[in-house]
């Protein structure tokens, strides 16, 4: 496990947690990124969602502006990226959440539905990632 980065993982995770608590405390909202993104295009309540998404984008710009290491991946097949995006968009809508809504906020609320969702998407994610690399041989 030479790529294991426990400290930055924990600190970054704590930031994600703080952001989720902040959004509940200040806005009374749950930080589920898929739901927020889908909701940007279906008013009412589109406005705060657009600002949250803008914050995510700004973080990416600030990270680059600060000259922090930018892990860019070259040559990942765009057809696979498109297929994956459709599955993620469809699946998060159908399942009502993603890694943040079910994974962080749902587990923190001790929701049985979210726990079931996390177990399922972790399992299929592991199967898909392992197959992509070792059966289909797609470099990533």
């Amino acid at each position: 496990m030479h790529d294991f980065t426990p400290f930055s993982a924990l600190i970054g995770g704590a930031f994600i947690g703080l952001a989720s608590v902040w959004l509940l405390a200040a806005n009374g909202r749950i930080a589920g990124v898929s739901g927020i993104l889908h909701g940007v295009f279906s008013p009412p309540q589109a406005q705060w969602r657009a600002w949250f998404i803008s914050g995510l984008l700004l973080a990416g710009l600030a990270w680059q502006a600060a000259g922090a290491p930018l892990p860019l991946r070259e040559g990942f097949p765009l057809g696979w990226a498109a297929a994956a995006g459709v599955l993620v968009g469809f699946g998060t809508r159908m399942g009502g959440g993603c890694t943040s809504g079910h994974g962080v906020c749902g587990l923190a609320r001790l929701s049985a539905r979210s726990l079931a969702a996390v177990v399922v998407f972790m399992a299929t994610g592991m199967i898909a990632a392992t197959m992509m690399r070792h059966v289909l041989g797609v470099a990533s």
């Binding site: 790529d3 990270w63 892990p71 599955l87 923190a108 990533s140």
Partner: protein, 129 residues
Amino acid sequence: MSALASALAAGFLFGIGLWVSGMANPRKVLGFLDITGDWDASLMLVMGGAVAVTLVGFRIYKTKLQPPTRKDIDFPLVAGSAIFGIGWGIAGYCPGPAITALATLSAESVVFVAALLAGGWLHRLLRPE
């Protein structure tokens, strides 16, 4: 602070967390999801750290939590999560990291986010509520 400014700040802090933790790096995510060989357990700690902080914070602000609308583990929850996981495992992006990675204007993040929106739209089309 206005509601919109605090939503912006929350999104910003969330995004910085994704970059600091390595979640914005699809290779790092796939290093966790690919369980063979050189497994990278970091993502487990990202979730652990995030859930721990949120667990405490949600207790403090529990009066602001809306009661859950449903408790049953039904077919759409399981099937939707399974489909999401497959997409996540293919590209290494879930919605948050993909959006903040858009700032790099990498072709894969632009294509992924456009497809994600199309997938959400497709769901709406096929299953009108």
